[in-house]
Symmetry: C2
Subunit: 357 residues, 2 copies
């Protein structure tokens, strides 16, 4: 039985990097007999241009009927002046929410070959390997009521609602506890329970579940302190779990600790293991179409997809090994280039991974 | 006419560090004829122990009748199991809100003498000098409705409201524009306007005011990117302005870039220039009472108080010069100690600043 993969290249560098990831998936398919089938769709600015909206209901349905989704990136200056309701980002929020992809896994790993790229001292980050588990379909991103209204005195007021119910907290907490069990056995839950009621409930639920995972050491940290600790001593963390907004901020900070955000994949999954896979970085419109973008985060996202959604762990490991090999060979796209290494284009990097198989 | 200063030592290391700051203020008073008058009050755990609440209305009124407030820090494990409504932190939130201290100024400065303390590479942080302007009496910290309720199906739901009206945004924006005028002329406003309606209004107001400050270059950045850029290349920033919650997170991350949070003061001011001054760090209960805490952030907070609330810029500069001098002398409390320097106690550090006058 074949596995159907929905490819959503999106905008900016999205199409270039996704092209390389698909090439790598195809060679993995040949080699391991994965029986993959590809179908392509539109999201973000590309969909706005074609259909006037960043993700059509039909495309959302198509994606949901596949076995997994591989996404490039969305957004760019071309669509920045559009009405907010139809901006490219809304397509991303719609697919996350529409497919119930509540569990966002964002690893921040320092590749030893790229240790120099970090802005932190080597002793602070060498060997860094954190997994941030971010709730992705709730919290203040989707809470109602929301909007901008005019008060009686004529001035405007903007408002959003930060809301979580126990069941939403529980399912993402379980994802995080289980991930910690498979890793270093440490889970740090991040909240602001000294100020925000909603995160008081968050902390309660984590504490309630903890006894079910006796092999995981649970700790709690306020979000401001977590931001500090990521800068001061990031290696103290194994798995971190937090809500949508704090997760957005902390996962980007953590990714940047590695200095090579062009290397970092992510997974967004629902209850049944169905997932959307995408690089952590954005659409980088400034370098789009130049063939210089780093395709490795997308290639590694494809590997995550094989492992987590398609139960093809062997092929996933082979892709990851191939990526490691090209780094060992000294090949670098511009974003991770340092003197003495060999600067390559997007296509050359993709081809090198294929060749390293 | 004398100037009345309310001293709120608070908890943990608060009393020790405030004691040194008061000693420094007294020698400044003598030297510059400032005519300062001191009165002491209770906040945080100290107030809970005495009155059963973290800040009494009477004490709030006392503070408001002074010319400025100098605060140590609040909180500690002793009060962690109390009902949330009467925790030490609530005293801090109550005084901020009760005195209308909406403008929180948090400088992140790397002292050249302490450059080694940073976890970042020297070239990334040397000369770092950022000012974060954080809105302190609104946003999700104070927004209503808030709470935890039980849904029809029996599960609990927690919620908070992130809300700003135009006038609240405008006044903090003006604080930030004016600060930028006096500094490097660059203001970066941080929001999440691609997701949160309330920050769409935030961005609108900043853009509307910008033409009134033609000498300030205004830019906008999403909060996730701001967290990344602080790690990647913090020296790109001059002044940053943002709401209460994002400001809490980003100011702590920025402070930690310097590696010496024990050095960083902060000011929280209202419309008329009245202010509360406190170190950026917390009450550090683990080292309280040992005489090893760093009093310099509090001493520098006292200097900020003289400059911003009491119009005593000369005395403020003298305190700052004295602090720089003791650093040049190689004196270091434990938190900033490195080999080859001279480790001193809280009291010795305070005495050295007094002597350096
Ligand atoms: C583009 C934006 C809506 C999105 C988010 O905030 O979730 C992005 O920053 C991310 O982290 O995937
Ligand atoms: C103690 C806490 C309520 C406070 C805040 O979140 O504002 C602190 O973190 C700060 O930044 O001053």
């Amino acid at each position: 039985m074949s596995k159907k993969i929905m490819i959503l290249p999106g905008d900016g560098i999205g199409p270039e990097i996704v092209e390389q990831a698909v090439a790598v998936l195809k060679v993995a398919d040949e080699k391991f007999g994965l029986n993959l089938e590809f179908t392509e769709g539109l999201i973000g600015g590309a969909s706005i241009d074609a259909h006037g909206e960043p993700l059509t209901d039909a495309e959302l349905k198509n994606a949901g009927e596949c076995d997994a989704v591989l996404l490039g990136a969305v957004g760019g200056p071309k669509w920045d002046t559009l009405d907010r309701a139809i901006r490219p980002e809304k397509g991303l929020l719609k697919i996350r929410s529409g497919l119930g992809l509540y569990a966002n896994l964002r690893p921040a790993i320092l590749y030893p070959q790229l240790a120099e790229a970090s802005s932190l001292k080597p002793e602070v980050v060498s060997g860094l390997d954190i997994l941030i588990v971010r709730e992705l379909t709730g919290g203040i991103y989707f809470g109602e009521p929301r909007g901008i209204k005019t008060l009686e005195n004529g001035e405007k007021q903007g408002y959003n609602t930060y809301v979580y119910k126990e069941s939403e907290i529980e399912r993402i907490a379980r994802t995080a506890f289980e991930a910690a069990q498979k890793r270093g056995g440490k889970l740090c839950s991040v909240d602001k329970a000294n100020v925000l009621d909603v995160t008081v409930l968050w902390r309660e639920v984590l504490d309630r579940l903890a006894p079910e995972y006796p092999d995981v050491e649970l700790s709690h940290m306020y979000v401001d302190n977590a931001a500090m600790q990521l800068v001061r001593a990031p290696k103290q963390f194994d798995v971190m779990v937090t809500g949508n907004m704090f997760g957005d901020i902390l996962s980007d900070a953590a990714a940047m600790l590695t200095g090579s955000i062009g290397m970092l994949p992510s997974a967004s999954m629902n209850e049944s293991g169905f997932g959307l896979y995408e690089p952590c970085h954005g659409s980088a419109p400034d370098i789009a179409g130049q063939g210089v973008a780093n395709p490795l985060a997308t290639i590694l996202s494809a590997a995550m997809m094989l492992r987590y959604s398609l139960d093809m762990g062997e092929a996933a490991a082979a892709i990851e090994a191939a990526v490691s090999k090209v780094l060992d060979q000294g090949l670098r796209t511009a974003d991770i280039y340092t003197e003495g290494s060999k600067k390559v284009s997007t296509a050359e990097m993709g081809a090198a991974v294929v060749a390293a198989f």
